[in-house]
Symmetry: C2
Subunit: 227 residues, 2 copies
Amino acid sequence: MTTRLLDIRQGVLSKNDQLAADLRTQFHRAGVLALNFVSSPGTGKTAFIERLMTDLRAKGRTVAALVGDLQTDNDAKRLARSGAPVRQIVTGGNCHLEADMISAHLSDWKLDLSGLDFFIIENVGNLVCPSSYDLGEDVRVVLLSVTEGEDKPLKYPPMFHSADVAVITKMDLAAACEFDRDLARANINEVHPGIRIFETSSKTGQGMGEFIEFLEKCKMQNAKFKN
Amino acid sequence: MTTRLLDIRQGVLSKNDQLAADLRTQFHRAGVLALNFVSSPGTGKTAFIERLMTDLRAKGRTVAALVGDLQTDNDAKRLARSGAPVRQIVTGGNCHLEADMISAHLSDWKLDLSGLDFFIIENVGNLVCPSSYDLGEDVRVVLLSVTEGEDKPLKYPPMFHSADVAVITKMDLAAACEFDRDLARANINEVHPGIRIFETSSKTGQGMGEFIEFLEKCKMQNAKFKN
């Protein structure tokens, strides 16, 4: 039974990978940079993304977001405060987003991707399962808050290994949590040597400018793919 | 393909449920109260359990723990500081514990369950998948920290619904996080009406005595099952 289960999982993953590759081509042709944000529940993904979208729009950039949760459209409502177009995917029981959910929502939404600079996907809060599912993004961003403990990268290596960049959130709480910055950075680097790490606070704005600069560079590098 | 996958998942779950029922009988006959702790990564499960085990031992109670993580035996090392017997289950890629992992480790460990008052299982940090897997516990404890956001019960209802009791952790950080206690309690109650909620801090010890009193009552109620 284990073998059959593994075979079928493999099948599901290959289908997902194919759909993700199609999505990636679609994003590249439209000239939009697609981002997939992953973390534990409670790391502050939504607060970070709301701040990011607001700051991007203040700079005249266009952005839209697709948000995954097991239940509720709370996060979509929060992100919509930025003024950008936002849609919620309610996954029911599913602990992660898959490429077909992104395709289906994009197709139903009739969003003009070529009118966007950035397309943000906020994954379900889960530090394990979303690591296996490519959503066609160009940049996978893993977030870790100062309140979670510095050892999380060592305990959940696939997520930190599969991410392209890491963001430490809630830096405004670092002192209250006795956060060990050097240890956290060393642990992220142990699992993913050389990965770029941003230290941020959605409350104070720390690190947001630096992160936006990074996104702009990624977008410039991607321009070669455009139609 | 979806149907085949679901059928097989159903099969895996039924097998798990049967194994869990066997474990429950084993725990009941030995007169040990089995607990399954579930939460996001970073909620403070290990800190809470270390404090709990230390406090229980100070009261002359016997306790052992089995700890699940994707990688590392960091948590087992931390819990072992309490002086109690502790074992680590490294799940590899698996995002949750299953009953057969508990059985296999118990059988290999040759732990005398009848010499124990409490047997603690610390699940993999994940607010989604562990909710579907009964481990034979008598009490499933879901933890939520004040830093995670008050809406988590609404966004991850299966975990809060399947738990027997809820513990709010890191109350010492409540002011720094502007934690809305009433809202958090209301959200837990919306998903699981009437569930008992403990407000705790592993740092200051707040609420630990009350939680231990609750465990002692559960243990007394379970005495009827003993050989």
